[in-house]
């Protein structure tokens, strides 16, 4: 199964306000140059692309989660969906 990492990294780095440079999986979501509504829009784009529902609360997760956390969650949810389908 394809890993979601490449797609997600592309979705982040193509955002207008992305602060540039090489994206590290350990980067926290609040250090990407995106404001909170852009991160929320990103989660919407990911849900639409992968046909999943991300349990994401902007009050908690933008500060505490990294890009790697996001990718891991998406991979798990895609795997769970594929299995149940």
């Amino acid at each position: 199964m394809a890993d979601a990492a490449d797609d997600i990294i592309k979705m982040i780095t193509s955002r207008k306000n992305y602060n540039g440079g090489t994206l590290q999986p350990s980067d926290p979501l609040d250090k990407l140059g995106l404001d909170s509504m852009e991160v929320v829009s990103l989660t919407f784009d990911i849900e639409e692309k992968f046909n999943i529902e991300l349990p994401f609360n902007a009050n908690l997760d933008i500060k505490s989660k990294t890009v790697a956390d996001l990718i891991a969650t998406v991979n798990q949810l895609v795997a769970a969906r594929t299995k149940s389908a």
Partner: protein
């Protein structure tokens, strides 16, 4: 310029359908949050909401009247009738023409829109009910309040999302103060806990999964609510002449726009609205005892609002009692400012500050006295009520104890 006093209050809320029941719940910190039970919203979300439970439209209206009343207008009229009844105003012809009805709402007849469009899009219905537009229009509640209370002066809706009711009451205050009207029935109403409304809020990912804990560490966001609150404002001269019971005096109203971001609040914009209110009232910051905060329970609002209070009040910020009654009643959006202004007036009257409930401890960015978890008996001579809306639209009211 007229001095302007408050002579009537009315409330329909998630924790009580009268001013007394609402105020008792705020003081006791009895929250009313639960999963949605009504209409399409019940299938839409597992999120907690502050629904107006056991609201019986038939107890307030004839069935022929209900055909014309979306839930948002029902709430508005019930609250307005309470406020007018308490004021003792009799809106005869001449006074009726000098009385305004100004009603704030964020989204108007949301239930009518949601159910009507569901019929069209999902069920393939061929037509909508003929009263869809007059029930759904954002000014419907203002029209219905004027109709049921018999006000014949200026009447219109004010919409600025979560600041709608505060803008409405502020405009009404300025109209009475200037003498363009003698009395006003004003406030806000909201009833948008529908499938479409809740999905929209969920998509913003700022709704709490447990409860609303404004300014607290580990806060998870807001809890959407519904309801209405209305006040009767009148010139002091008029209230005195008829021997009315004066509840408090409304003394200031200030507005500002952030002009910065559609959703992220700006402490500078908030602070400008607070300062504008103090200036409008001719008050020094040191005269304020209590601030009923916007306090939504989101990380962004509560941090920005705390910074704005520091900015506007300087050292006095630490002397203020600041509380968010949204911790009990939820965020009733376009009605919130009116519900909170009623709480502010009651705090002045009773000398009790309602608590910020569900508070777990200090957050690094929120370092004021939030009156955590327990009501506080203290003299409240002068107080502010803050409302800060999406769009960066800010509005603040000031009221003080009536001292003759």
């Amino acid at each position: 310029m007229n001095r302007v006093v408050i002579t009537g209050l009315g409330v329909v809320s998630s924790v009580g359908q009268s001013t007394k029941d609402y105020w008792d719940a705020l003081i006791a910190g009895r929250t009313g949050f639960a999963p949605a039970t009504l209409g399409t919203a019940a299938q839409a979300t597992s999120k907690l909401v502050g629904e107006v439970k056991n609201f019986d439209p038939a107890a307030h209206f004839e069935s022929s009247q209900l055909l014309l009343l979306d839930r948002v207008s029902q709430f508005a009229v019930v609250a307005a009738r309470q406020a007018v009844a308490q004021s003792g105003l009799e809106l005869h012809d001449e006074l009726a023409e000098r009385t305004a009805a100004i009603v704030g709402t964020g989204s108007g007849g949301h239930t009518t829109v949601d159910e009507g469009f569901h019929r069209l899009y999902a069920e393939g219905a061929a037509r909508l009910h003929p009263l869809t537009i007059p029930k759904a229009m954002i000014s419907a509640a203002a029209g219905q309040v004027s109709l049921y209370c018999g006000t014949k002066g200026p009447a219109f809706a004010v919409s600025s999302a979560c600041a709608s009711a505060t803008h409405a009451i502020g405009l009404a205050f300025h109209m009475v103060r200037s003498g363009s009207v003698t009395c006003a029935v004003s406030g806000g109403t909201e009833a948008s806990i529908t499938f479409g409304g809740m999905k929209g809020w969920e998509a913003m990912r700022i709704m709490s999964s447990d409860t609303c804990r404004p300014f607290s560490k580990d806060r998870k966001g807001m809890v959407i609510a519904e309801g209405a609150a209305m006040v009767v404002l009148e010139s002091l001269e008029h209230a005195r002449a008829r021997g009315a019971d004066i509840l408090a005096e409304i003394v200031g109203f200030g507005m500002s726009a952030d002009a910065k971001d559609l959703t992220s609040p700006d402490p500078n914009g908030m602070a400008r609205a607070i300062t504008a209110t103090l200036n409008d009232a001719g008050l020094a910051g040191e005269q304020i005892d209590y601030v009923n905060a916007h306090g939504t329970g989101t990380v962004a609002n509560d941090t920005a609002e705390t910074a704005a209070l520091h900015k506007s009040f300087g050292a006095h910020a630490r002397q203020l009692a600041v509380s968010s009654t949204k911790s009990v009643v939820g965020h009733a959006l376009g009605a919130a400012g009116a519900l909170e202004f009623v709480a502010t007036v009651m705090a002045i009257r009773d000398g009790v500050v309602p608590p910020t409930m569900n508070y777990l401890g200090a957050d690094a960015d929120c370092d004021l006295d939030y009156v955590p978890n327990e009501a506080r008996r203290m003299p409240v001579r002068t107080a502010l009520s803050n409302s800060f809306a999406f769009g960066g639209l800010n509005a603040v009211l000031a009221a003080r104890a009536f001292a003759g």
